[in-house]
Symmetry: C2
Subunit: 513 residues, 2 copies
Amino acid sequence: MGEGADRSGISRRGLLAGLGATAAATVAAGAAALPRPAIASWDITTDVLVAGSGAAGVSAAIEARQAGAEVLLIESLARFGGSSAMSGGVVYAGGGTALQKALKVTDSAQEMYRFISEAGGRHPPLDKIQLYCEESVAHFDWLVAQGVPYSEKLTTAKGLPMGDESLYFSGTELAWPARELATPAPRGHVPGVPGMNGGRRLMQVLLARAGSLGVSLRNRVAAERLVIESDGRIAGILVTIDGQSQAIRVNRGIVLACGGFIHNREMLQQYAPELYDCSVPWGNAADLGDGINMGIAVGAAALHMHQGFAIAPIYPPENVLSGIVVNASGQRFVSEESYHGVLGDAIAYHQQGRAWLITDKRSAYQFHQDNFLPAARGSSIGDIAAQLALPRGALQHTVAYYNRHAGNGDDPMFHKSQTWLRPLQGPPYTAWDLSVASAFFPAHTFGGLHTTINGQVLNSFGDEIPGLYAAGRTAAGLPTAPYIASGLSVGDCTFFGRRAGRTAAAEAVGSRV
Amino acid sequence: MGEGADRSGISRRGLLAGLGATAAATVAAGAAALPRPAIASWDITTDVLVAGSGAAGVSAAIEARQAGAEVLLIESLARFGGSSAMSGGVVYAGGGTALQKALKVTDSAQEMYRFISEAGGRHPPLDKIQLYCEESVAHFDWLVAQGVPYSEKLTTAKGLPMGDESLYFSGTELAWPARELATPAPRGHVPGVPGMNGGRRLMQVLLARAGSLGVSLRNRVAAERLVIESDGRIAGILVTIDGQSQAIRVNRGIVLACGGFIHNREMLQQYAPELYDCSVPWGNAADLGDGINMGIAVGAAALHMHQGFAIAPIYPPENVLSGIVVNASGQRFVSEESYHGVLGDAIAYHQQGRAWLITDKRSAYQFHQDNFLPAARGSSIGDIAAQLALPRGALQHTVAYYNRHAGNGDDPMFHKSQTWLRPLQGPPYTAWDLSVASAFFPAHTFGGLHTTINGQVLNSFGDEIPGLYAAGRTAAGLPTAPYIASGLSVGDCTFFGRRAGRTAAAEAVGSRV
């Protein structure tokens, strides 16, 4: 068993011990979900139980509470906020949001839909993408109404704003081929706070809102097994509080919003080998796949399990984009100005995890940075190629072709923007290592439970599992590989988390057979 | 719902109708698996039930029967043999099999292990690979003992022997980089019958063997839902015979060997978009994912669901290997002599499904063939590049680089063997379309239920689901993407199918709680 697996949930044996004799007598090997009779008595009862305090869980809790349900939100760690609090807090929104309008930005739901559905991978979830785009303006208004602060400032600089700007091009909209597939617009909406603090601020606001509405928030409570009725309905959940197993009964439903599985090494190796090899698991410590595994244990289908966010953050500074990125054959394979997630996906999934950024005197990193280290330095491209042991003459060939056309302001292969397009010239040349294993290469998982647009979890025959809902990275949502824009994940968490909470709360009390 | 989904199994409502009042009263929405109490009475009882009559199912049935179990094998179609009967019937075996020895072929289990574990994708199932290699000699002896006919003839020609040779290099062993990772040896063991009849012959022999041992074979019986005890143990299975639902009780266990899901369009789109886009679903009509879905419905984990066999069969004739294969950027990306599955994987998974084979006068297809049609014909490489609308000058650059080195008997980028290495020269030049959607591009699925080396199905917490076994393409086995050799799939079916049958039969009668 991998380190991660050892840390994910408790073992069945441990579970039986916690349950005591009555349960132990009933629960047999393989019962990854507990049959209702295994529960001698319920310790806690609530209408809606939400597992996970990230953007998806808290959004679900807010909506469920506002729909009149008694809501208990549990967090396995001491600290609330999930991986969302570690993120930039960007929400991908468009179609003419209040902020876009205030900043005179033209956009439409159609162009937003075109971008998300066509600039990424094949066969994305079109039903979720369409709904997300159609209701994006209203969703942004909701975030504002909750109290999330946005500044009326726009930046056209690439990358998450380090200032307090709240609107920017958070994805690959302006890079080829995306810019030809849909009219670009800045859609990255980020709290107006400097630096990487957007996620913390977003979660502070949403958590405070949940608390003020009367959502009961409990930390250090680990969800472990779902309890299921003989008719397939979810009856409750077994959790551990201070080392004690406790059974929570739900009158309406359970929303699993426990994040992904980037810290579960065994699951990564089995489901997403490309992400296993990335150097930096990017998520909070509770991203162990518990919610996904609890869902699978009761018959849920899981989709996109091999997909994820593999990031090669070569910019800022933007000057390095005048360099070229090459693979182990010394060939270019992507537009260097592509969004981090697009570049990272190309390297991690399609180039066996190996690539280099080749810069010259003017395009080299001009300040000390640790993300990428030099794999080779030389006075000529030939020097570099030899040090990297690339196929003889290949890199020279690539650079000659690139330079000839760049000299005419042209990039026939990947149509790099004029801003950064110029021949590589002027030693020293440097090859920066962009390999998934040795560079700073954060990764996160996208695979999760198959859900409807309302967050209802579906089994392998396409039927809903009564009483079970999922959102955020515990569900297979909007983010698929390649990840084309910051904000699609947290945007998906808040948008579909809200819907899951509403739907769970609407489940009539006592509707159980 | 996709066409395939409509054809896969029956709807829950249909199921309830078939079950009659007692069941309907108990089975509620979402019960994709039937609780034991839903079965009013059992119609049939057996020790071991095997679902599926391909190589995996029949091998399981033979072993279970020989272990003393009463075995019922059901096939949903009229014809027995599954997709295995449509295949070449190749079994990948080595380490010094009787046939290898008779033909003076040197091989070792270590080199076979090195090839399978290192020449394919990342993080393959090492436990299964090791056991498969260690016991390969004995497994081949077993095939011979069952009566499968092999001729003491070897061929070094590429591709499935069209003569009656029984041993050949069935994979990418001799192509770079594989030949540097492990010592190549011919390991494709195919029944000594001319042409594509190996699979039919293999299944004729195994089916006859199963019958003579007393396995009860029933065709036109569709497996639909598993019946599960409250303790998680598999109690039986619901099937449809002549439109009537019948409940089969098992004393020992059920082996799901129902194939993959290449004909279930909805599952393909959700789980394996790259295979969805391939032009030819390669499997028999029953490859609808029923076995996989029945397993998932009772809590099983499913692995490698996006992976599969995507085939670009450019040879024979071998003369075309003197041409070059290029992508939409006009670049080479793989050794043209690579095994079909390696070339197909590179195109379908890593080049957005588009590629062309560029040939000159001598390397062009010399006879009429329909697999690949000309996308461009011209008197110069420039002509071809223009007709394909490749990046200006890119293909010319690629050919200039290739020709310069090929002229010196060198291929720095992909190390093509001397046999086929020479500069492209002498018009007319032809670009053959190798795109997944328009060329002859067969595909099959590899994703399936997570199993132990003994075929026991595991749930999402790594525990065995008592009484449930899976083999063949219903399980996640030896074949992963890229598929590096013919015979790994049928080899996996027969080898691990046997183990699943043995283990199921060993389940002590009445061991149920």
